[in-house]
């Protein structure tokens, strides 16, 4: 079956910038309609919806699987109606994990870690796509782009060539971040490595002022926020429309508080003030987290699936495929001083067998300290990049 327009051409609609809507119908003919924070692209003929709370939509489609989803292109406001049929729900596997990771990250930032979670990824087959006649002048169709084109492969090649020129870790990281800026336009980036206390510490950065030096030394707790959640889960995390995601999380938080839940304070997001997109790429050597490449942008659509593929390819270039372990260890690791960084970091990436397995957190990360910049009045965090020090 070929859909026209194709789901690939609607990729912007699946970034969650404009809330979507789904209509379902009970067997007795009572319709139901609700807003959706995001519709996930699965493949050329399937989308998935996140189920965080068992609801009427789920109950309806279990009995009458037909539904209509409306998505909207955030760049043009062109709406599209997807005629869909519910096929199944997933509670594990790659799709579930990818959707769950984003929710975990939002839950972490909004003080709902472990409480606000994904119950299931509900998968729908898309039967037809219709362009809705809402606008005075229909915008030009967006051409579908392959997920990994020749241009992107060349981009990876250029980054690889540049990075291979590095003579030591300092130079290699500087070349990596500058090439990602020059080739991909990622102008705000950090490389963080874990220390022995369960924190991630930035050892290289670009775009945060003073030739990137202002970002160096920034700390993030593993398991907290976008970077910390990606590090803990060892999975690439891409978050578009950060403000919208947090607004959604805060709405859920407020409902939970109304129901009597006691929640942790919201944590501050370190890094670029006003950042609307985050991409965190954990670097893993045989189950050992050796670092996180963190990118951010004020453009809510800055990172797409392209960037996940490209940066992941870069991150894995010298790293063997990850092997799953039921209890993957985190290495104890001293954060190198700038003068000793080359030796220390090199040994950490080269050595894959000598790491012991300490507790994930030393405890310092579980006691939030005062935030430097707060998205709400009840904000606290152990993230320690002062916004004043991170302005580009």
């Amino acid at each position: 079956m070929t859909l026209d327009p194709s789901l690939q051409s609607l990729s912007r609609c699946f970034q969650g910038l404009i809330p979507s809507a789904i209509a379902t119908c009970a067997p007795d003919g009572t319709p139901n309609v609700t807003f959706l924070s995001q519709v996930y692209y699965v493949d050329a003929t399937h989308v998935a919806l996140s189920c965080q709370f068992f609801n009427k939509t789920r109950r309806n489609v279990e009995k009458n699987p037909f539904a209509t989803v409306e998505v909207m292109d955030p760049a043009t406001l062109q709406p599209y109606r997807l005629s869909v049929r519910y096929t199944h729900s997933e509670t594990s596997g790659p799709l579930f994990e990818a959707m769950d990771l984003r929710i975990q990250a939002i839950a972490s930032v909004t003080g709902m870690a472990g409480i606000f979670r994904l119950i299931a990824a509900d998968v729908y087959e898309v039967l037809a796509v219709e362009r809705v006649d809402l606008l005075a002048e229909a915008p030009a169709a967006t051409p579908a782009t392959p997920e990994f084109s020749l241009r992107q492969v060349l981009g990876v090649q250029i980054v690889s060539q540049q990075v291979n020129r590095g003579r030591d870790l300092d130079e290699t990281l500087e070349l990596l971040l500058s090439t990602l800026d020059d080739v991909c336009g990622f102008s705000h980036s950090m490389m963080l490595v874990p220390d022995e206390s369960g924190r991630l510490v930035a050892i290289a950065s670009r775009g945060y002022g003073e030739q990137g030096r202002k970002g160096i030394g920034a700390e993030v707790c593993i398991g907290e926020g976008f970077i910390g959640t990606a590090a803990e889960q060892r999975r690439v995390l891409r978050v578009s429309n950060v403000e919208g995601e947090l607004r959604y999380g805060r709405a859920v938080r407020q409902r939970m508080e109304t129901k009597g839940e006691t929640l942790r304070p919201e944590i501050a997001l370190p890094g670029l003030p006003g950042a609307q997109s985050h991409l965190a790429v954990p670097l893993v050597v045989q189950d050992r987290l050796v670092g996180v490449l963190a990118l951010e942008s004020r453009d809510p659509l800055a990172f797409g699936t392209w960037d996940e593929s490209t940066t992941t390819a870069r991150a894995r270039k010298k790293i063997p495929p990850r092997r799953r372990s039921p209890n993957p260890p985190l290495p104890p690791r001293a954060v190198p001083s700038r003068s000793s960084r080359t030796t220390t970091a090199s040994s950490s990436t080269a050595s894959t067998s000598s790491a012991t397995s300490p507790a994930r957190s030393s405890g310092s990360c579980s006691a939030p300290t005062t935030a430097t910049a707060a998205p709400s009045s009840a904000t606290a965090s152990c993230a320690s990049i002062p916004h004043s020090a991170s302005l580009p």
Partner: protein
């Protein structure tokens, strides 16, 4: 007790995002965007839809009168869903145009607070519009979070 409390009316008539669900004879549902609504009695509501994208909803309502309307304040995700039965469907009379334009301007300003540029919303064709009257049977809490989907106590018939 009225189905639509004063507090609920105040919310429903605000600068909200509105979506409307109907279904055809095979129980295949349809979703379309609404422009604004006004509460016209203790349990009656009038909602306006842009006519072109609402054509299928109007066709559905000729067969089946049941309807669902979700109303969300985008900046807070505060959401309520009305369910009821349609009592009239007609082209919106000309004297509604000012009301619709004014309401949509308010919605556009609300959208600007969450980063949607008003210039994009200027391209939405508001007119001609369809006017739908409905009798509300139930109202549901639909703000995301625990309790979403629960009927509002004050709105039970």
């Amino acid at each position: 007790m009225p189905v639509l409390s004063r507090e609920l009316v105040e919310f429903l008539e605000g600068p909200n995002s509105i979506v409307v669900a109907t279904h055809d004879g095979k129980l295949h549902p349809e979703v379309t965007r609404g422009l604004t609504l006004r509460c016209t009695g203790d349990d009656t509501v009038r909602v306006w839809l842009p006519a072109r994208p609402a054509a299928r909803a109007v066709a559905n309502l000729a067969l089946e009168k049941r309807i669902a309307v979700a109303v969300e304040l985008p900046s807070l995700h505060k959401t309520r869903q009305l369910k009821g039965v349609v009592t009239a469907v007609r082209p919106a009379p000309d004297d509604r145009r000012a009301l619709i334009d004014e309401a949509f301007a308010g919605f556009s300003a609300q959208c600007a607070t969450i980063g949607v540029p008003p210039r994009l919303l200027e391209r939405v064709v508001l007119w001609p519009a369809v006017e739908i009257e409905l009798r509300v049977d139930a109202v549901f809490e639909q703000t995301p979070g625990p309790g979403a989907g629960e009927p509002l106590e004050a709105a039970k018939r």
